[in-house]
């Protein structure tokens, strides 16, 4: 008797069209294309800039991917990042705490924001729709708190140790920020590959009812994934401010779009149940390259927003085509049997 699905051949084909490989090719082609127009694109300095920019996008993208994996969204991701950054500034300059302690407390408070999101979502119905509506409301609340703390004034003169994170390059080539992003990537990869929590999140994303019936405590999974997402967002906000050397209240306001774009380019499924950590990592790099290229080509800066939208549409469109093809292939195989 033939097996129902030729899993072996299917896996091989999947590998062939692997998302990560595709993005890598796109990144290289894109870099070469820009290089022909602007000679400084492939240079050490620009690479360092690219790595710094992409590390923020990567971490924020992971923050969104964790929530997305379990069928939900976190629209408040940027405002949690901004709030955490501003809290560090307030603790250091108004309270007089050591910056290390301030960072730890700010990240913990960021995690509390995530817990609040998770609790509200589970109380109000824990569907994907509710998750983004609730975080839309909390986004406004967190951003309001950020503005109330700062009165829209930035914090300057931050301690040297703090700004060192954002400015030092290991061996003069690799920014500390990028190394932190890689560490996060490994952690997230480990969670989804080897921890039962990661598997539970994916199960909830694939089919919430089935997950409940198989004994997963969906409520705590949802709350926990929002806590992780908020922790990542808070870390990204603080990292961003170490790079700027000052803390502004508008940090995170423009994060929403690329937070979705990075994991979607990487091959995560919007409805949940599928993630690709390495793909999201590469997606972050690609997005950083696009905004960087716009600067190098000296085109209208407003076009970046448009391009990000188009990239998201392309990413989800390609994913949709792939899904239709897979469905078609499955049907054909079944027809053969």
């Amino acid at each position: 008797m033939k097996p129902l699905l030729k899993s072996n051949s299917l896996n091989k084909k999947k590998f062939k069209f692997s998302n990560s490989l595709g993005i890598l090719v796109v990144i290289i082609l894109f870099a070469l294309l820009i290089q022909t127009r602007s000679a400084e694109f492939i240079s050490r300095d620009n690479f360092i800039t690219l790595m710094r920019n992409s590390s923020i996008i990567i971490i924020v993208g992971f923050g969104q991917m964790v929530v997305m994996a379990g069928s939900g969204l976190n629209v408040a991701i940027g405002s949690i990042g901004g709030l955490a950054a501003v809290l560090v500034g307030a603790f250091v300059q108004r309270v007089g705490l050591h910056w290390g302690l301030a960072v730890v407390i700010a990240i913990l408070l960021g995690a509390c924001c995530g817990a609040l999101n998770g609790i509200l979502i589970t109380r109000l119905g824990s569907t994907g729709e509710i998750s983004w509506l609730v975080t839309l409301a909390t986004m406004s609340i967190f951003a309001g708190i950020t503005l109330t703390i700062t009165k829209a004034n930035p914090f300057y003169n931050l301690p040297e140790g703090f700004t060192w994170i954002g400015s030092y390059n290991v061996g003069g080539v690799i920014p500390v920020m990028f190394i932190i992003a890689v560490v996060f990537a490994v952690l997230i990869w480990f969670i989804f590959k080897h921890s039962s929590f990661g598997h539970q999140v994916l199960a909830v994303g694939a089919n919430q009812r089935a997950a409940t019936l198989s004994g997963i405590h969906v409520t705590s999974v949802i709350i926990l994934k929002h806590i992780i997402s908020a922790t990542l967002a808070a870390s990204a906000g603080i990292l961003f401010s170490t790079r700027l050397g000052s803390i502004h209240s508008d940090i995170g306001l423009d994060w929403m779009l690329f937070s979705f774009a990075a994991p979607l380019i990487g091959g995560a499924r919007m409805e949940g149940g599928r993630v690709n950590v390495f793909g999201a990592f590469l997606g972050g790099i690609l997005l950083a390259m696009v905004s960087n290229a716009v600067v190098h080509l000296k085109v209208n800066v407003y076009i970046v927003e448009f391009l990000q939208g188009v990239i998201i549409l392309l990413a989800v469109g390609l994913d949709r085509i792939r899904a239709i093809r897979e469905e078609h292939r499955d049907r054909m195989e079944r027809a053969k049997i």
Binding site: T148, L264, M270, G309, I312, V316, R320
Partner: protein, 369 residues
């Protein structure tokens, strides 16, 4: 008995929020300067008009069980198109002000310009609906991507200039009110309904007719209750989802153009802060997030509540930065109310079914004896 009637009262969508609105209005009337009261009420009603239309734009998509995140982007794009068409270009050389004020403009009759702006809004909405139904990609991500596509194009093409030499007839939509509101020094100001408010009421009536008196409206609501059931009942649900998005886009365009008329300037930032209001107004008003139920008058009251809250916060001299916290909090409260309403309506439905079953049983018993 009292408890029962009280709970019945609170389960009525309009009644609860009307009470909240009335209380807030009374607080506002008591706290504000009596000399300026009429005038400030006139100006509040302009904001209510815009937010009611934005709320109805969101309501149109909620009715089919979907969302329109691009309300602000569509409104902004329509306002800019309309602004470009009706802007009166200046003759002289104004190099200095080039980046502040647009010298370009076609100066066509403003009614035509508004019409083209509305068509652009409807087309953008239709495009969103088409993409959602035809590609079957997650509606949220399509709408989110379209925000940046539309807003980015708007900024990229116009380079973030604004049109502020708009014809008088166009800005009169907000300046003229019936009866004309006047504020003379030392005398109590009078209240008048601004033209935009009256137009909004006409729009509300048209939307009401659409949902309660036309087949298309009923089919949209049916699609919202259950897409599958609608499909089985022979309704081409995809078509009605596209129609709902078109209506939504058209209403966004109205709101964008009214904002341009209110500010006497069409600018790209039009609609940037609409998203939260667009959800808060209809949901407070009784539109269900799960689809299939609209409340047009309720949306108006919801818009009134949102506008009064922001005004009251300003009157109470609260920090402008705290406004966002309040608006987010109200939106959360609205979702909780929505959750309760969904439960009630489910209970109500089950109660009806049970009472019918009971009646059938009683009848059967009667037959047997």
């Amino acid at each position: 008995m009292i408890k029962k009637s009280l709970s019945k009262f609170f389960k009525n969508d309009i009644a609860t929020i009307s009470v909240i609105f009335a209380v807030m209005l009374i607080i506002f009337v008591l706290t504000s300067d009596p000399l300026r009261l009429g005038f400030s009420l006139t100006s509040i009603s302009k904001d209510v008009a815009i937010y009611a239309i934005v709320g109805m734009a969101q309501m149109a998509t909620l009715a089919v069980g979907q969302f329109n995140l691009a309300v602000g982007a569509i409104g902004g794009a329509s306002a800019m198109v309309c602004g470009y068409l009706i802007n009166i270009p200046t003759a002289g050389n104004m190099e200095v002000e080039k980046y502040v004020q647009a010298e370009i403009g076609l100066a066509i009759p403003w009614v035509l310009g508004v019409l083209v702006g509305l068509i652009v809004g409807a087309l953008l909405g239709a495009m969103q609906g088409w993409l959602i139904t035809k590609t079957k990609i997650n509606p949220f991500i399509i709408s989110l991507a379209l925000i940046s596509v539309i807003h980015g194009l708007n900024m990229g093409i116009t380079e973030n200039i604004y049109f502020r030499r708009l014809p008088e007839g166009f800005t009169d939509l907000n300046k003229v009110s019936i009866p004309q509101a006047k504020a003379e020094i030392g005398q109590a100001s009078t209240f008048g309904f601004p033209l935009v408010f009256l137009i909004t009421i006409v729009i509300m009536v048209v939307v009401w007719l659409l949902y309660y008196r036309t087949a298309a409206g009923r089919k949209m609501l049916a699609t919202g209750v259950s897409k599958r059931t609608a499909d089985f009942a022979g309704i081409d649900s995809g078509r009605y989802v596209i129609l709902a998005h078109t209506v939504s886009g058209l209403l966004c365009a109205f709101a964008g153009i009214f904002t341009a008329s209110k500010l006497s300037a069409a600018q790209t930032s039009t609609g940037d802060n609409w998203l939260l209001y667009s959800f808060a107004a209809p949901i407070l008003g009784g539109t269900l997030l799960s689809g299939g139920k609209v409340s047009i008058f309720g949306t108006m009251i919801g818009a009134g509540i949102m506008t009064l809250i922001t005004t009251l916060l300003a009157v109470l001299k609260l920090d402008a930065f705290t406004h966002q916290i309040f608006i987010g909090g109200i939106l959360l409260a609205a979702f909780m109310l929505n959750r309760a309403r969904e439960t009630w309506s489910r209970q109500h439905d089950t109660a009806i079914v049970e009472s019918k079953e009971h009646a059938v049983l009683v009848e059967a018993e009667g037959d047997r004896s």
